[in-house]
């Protein structure tokens, strides 16, 4: 058993982030300087990213008596979570300032949400997984409700809260059954117990159903996706941007920890459930998105379909499948940062650039922004040479490699259907005349435009040279599996 002090060194990223979050709350209480809390938040996230790199060990290290694990997959995901949160904060600065929401309360909650994600990513115990999830969810519920005078946001927060509580209940019930069966909450020991001695297959399957249903809720995969469109639509664009990006990395890690680290011996059981959820997500996500006129809602349904792809990668149960799913999660977050970031950036006081009509003829006014948005949309549709193409391709390769050719064909077909609504946005921006009363021309925050450009170019560049990121994901997963 390692000593307590070395445990604290291993968990330095979380400890540092917690300290910064508390400082942000204190600065808000005594100073209320917007610039101070904003810069402090960014510095804190950068510091956390630096600590993740600094404490990185390269091999899985257990700490706190098996509650915490630090492994390469977790480190890569934590790093990307921090960067994604930084991008989300920079994109939403102008939006939040206009609506008087840029405060220590908001940024403090955001930091606590990031802390929840980090805890989930490096959890090695059902208890830590659950606590991390609750920390993340509670902060997100409050952030969705932050625009207090908006009935829409309050309704969205209410729905999110109730459904989130239900999902937590399902998850806990499933965990308690697995605990009853294995006598341990630590994921490694659960896997060991299940590997050597399954007392009852039927109870295992029963508990697994609850766990997978809870996971489905948190990922936003069909048929547990109904909260996603309402929450994405109802929340202020800046919150949608945050909810739709970094938490997906944490949700991926959450699924990997529970299903692969903990319940790998029951792979045959959860493979079927994930396959059904994946096909349902692809179908519902891609078809329902066509009917949307609100771009936030459309992107919510697109999230559902992307989660379907992610689940397809995970269900193969192979190393290639897991690394494909991780690559998919990372690229999805990159694309979704661009998409929601653009919606947030183009919004101005009193009006959000949330309707598809708001993007009509964007090219005439902001050719560069339109070009970035077009890249994001084409990447989401999975067109080469953008990174979304490789994300879909690696998942399909893993599927075919594991012998699931039928599922791969279904995935391709639904992606083709989905391409329609992504390309419609491109069509609207380039070939439609802008309305006379120009609805959305955001204030010009240089930092946000610069970062959006980097974001868009990264989508293009990673599409041309995907090998580095692919190798990184494959290595991270390979070195983390126990």
């Amino acid at each position: 058993m390692t000593s307590i002090s070395s445990d604290f060194v291993t968990a330095l990223p979380e400890i540092g982030l917690l300290a910064v979050a508390c400082v942000v709350l204190l600065v808000e209480a005594y100073n209320q300087s917007r610039a101070a809390v904003y810069l402090l938040t960014l510095t804190g996230l950068l510091l956390t990213a630096a600590l993740v790199v600094f404490t990185g060990a390269g091999v899985p290290v257990l700490a706190f008596n098996g509650l915490y694990v630090d492994d390469p997959m977790g480190e890569v995901l934590k790093l990307l979570t921090c960067f994604s949160a930084i991008a989300a904060v920079i994109y939403s600065r102008q939006f939040l300032t206009d609506r008087k929401m840029l405060s220590g309360d908001y940024l403090g909650l955001l930091l606590f949400a990031v802390l929840g994600m980090l805890v989930m990513i490096s959890a090695n115990h059902f208890l830590t997984l659950y606590l991390g999830l609750e920390l993340l969810s509670l902060a997100l519920y409050a952030m969705v409700a932050m625009e207090r005078d908006s009935a829409r946001a309050t309704e969205a927060a209410m729905k999110y809260f109730v459904l989130g509580a239900l999902a937590s209940g399902l998850l806990l019930y499933g965990m308690s059954l697995i605990y009853g069966l294995t006598g341990s909450l630590e994921l490694g020991k659960v896997a060991e117990a299940l590997h050597f001695n399954v007392k009852s297959e039927i109870v295992l399957a029963f508990g697994l159903v609850f766990i997978v249903a809870g996971l489905g809720f948190k990922l936003g995969a069909a048929p547990f996706h109904m909260w996603a469109p309402d929450v994405y639509h109802g929340a202020p664009a800046a919150v949608t941007l945050f909810v739709g990006t970094a938490p997906k990395l944490a949700a991926f890690a959450f699924a990997m920890r529970i299903l692969v680290d903990g319940l790998q011996p029951a792979h045959g059981d959860w493979q079927q459930m994930l396959a059904v959820m994946a096909v349902a997500s692809l179908a519902i996500g891609n078809i329902a998105a066509i009917a949307q006129t609100n771009i936030k809602r459309m992107l919510a349904y697109s999230t559902v379909s992307h989660m379907g792809f992610l689940l397809l990668g995970m269900m193969t149960g192979s190393l290639a499948g897991y690394s494909a799913a991780m690559f998919y999660a990372v690229t999805y977050v990159l694309m979704s940062l661009g998409g929601f970031g653009m919606v947030t950036y183009l919004s101005r006081t009193g009006a959000e650039a949330e309707n598809l009509d708001d993007f009509k003829g964007l090219n005439a006014h902001h050719p560069w922004l339109a070009a970035i948005m077009a890249m994001v949309m084409m990447s989401m549709a999975g067109l080469p040479p953008f990174v979304g193409f490789y994300a879909k391709l690696t998942v399909l390769q893993a599927l075919v490699g594991a012998g699931w050719i039928g599922l791969a064909v279904v995935a391709v077909l639904f992606s083709l259907i989905g391409a329609f609504f992504y390309l419609r946005v491109v069509w609207l921006m380039y070939f439609d005349t802008p309305p006379a009363e120009s609805p959305v021309y955001g204030q010009h925050a240089g930092d946000a435009v610069m970062l959006l450009s980097v974001n868009g170019l990264a989508i293009l560049l990673l599409g041309i040279l995907p090998q580095t990121l692919l190798t990184l994901c494959a290595l991270a997963v390979q070195m983390s599996l126990r």
């Binding site: 307590i4 445990d7 968990a11 917690l18 709350l25 700490a63 706190f64 008596n65 509650l67 915490y68 405060s103 309360d105 908001y106 403090g108 909650l109 606590f112 802390l115 805890v119 115990h125 208890l127 830590t128 606590l131 991390g132 609750e134 920390l135 509670l138 902060a139 519920y141 409050a142 409700a145 932050m146 207090r148 059954l177 009853g180 069966l181 007392k199 009852s200 039927i202 109870v203 029963f206």
Partner: protein, 204 residues
């Protein structure tokens, strides 16, 4: 059946009935009181399991603090709960049937023998589970314990951020500002001659 199982079934029956009352009571205050009873009997069950500390904590925290607050809130808010769940009684037969079926299925799947559990052996009288819990919480589970504390902090921050409104027009008082004030600048001494007619007459 020995005495312990008799007590268990007695408490379990009360717990289930009280739980049912929470959902079906027409008056929200009755629901809240039934919930208090539920917690109380659950604490009794825990004492049967020799989890005395948890039982006492349940009563102190939930019955003593949470439920009392909850009853206050329910009494202050004028909610017609019957109005809000109009469909409840109509759908009850079907919902009850589905729930009953599910319960039967779950009992068939989740029999106690499937977990391979044996009855726990009683600990000696000198065994203190408060001490054991404390030792575990602050050593093996210190990470989870701290995280739970952070979640509570987030709950506090969220509650304040969502309800505190700094309204400049509000006429609330600031005791600190009040106690810093002196007479200087606030009180002006004026020499007034008596002018009231009745006062004058009395003087004469």
């Amino acid at each position: 059946m020995d005495f312990a199982s008799l007590v268990f079934y007695f408490l379990a029956a009360i717990l289930l009935l009280a739980g049912l009352r929470v959902v079906t009571a027409k008056n929200p205050v009755h629901s809240a009181l039934a919930l208090v009873l539920t917690f109380f009997t659950a604490a009794g069950l825990w004492i049967l399991l020799e989890a005395e500390f948890l039982a006492i904590a349940l009563i102190l925290v939930y019955v003593g603090a949470v439920m009392v607050l909850f009853i206050f809130v329910v009494m202050m808010l004028d909610i017609n709960i019957e109005e809000m769940r109009k469909g409840f009684w109509d759908h009850l037969p079907l919902a009850g049937l589905v729930a009953g079926l599910m319960a039967v299925e779950m009992v068939m799947v989740l029999g106690g023998d499937r977990f391979g559990l044996s009855a726990p052996t009683a600990k000696p009288a000198s065994y203190s589970n408060t001490r054991e819990l404390g030792l575990l919480l602050y050593t093996d589970y210190v990470y989870a314990f701290e995280l739970a504390a952070v979640i509570l902090l987030v709950a506090i921050v969220a509650a304040i951020a969502l309800t505190l409104r700094r309204n400049p027009n509000r006429k609330n008082i600031d005791p600190g500002w009040q106690s810093r004030q002196t007479a200087k600048g606030h009180i002006r001494m004026v020499n007034l001659k008596p002018q009231h007619p009745e006062y004058k007459e009395a003087d004469e």
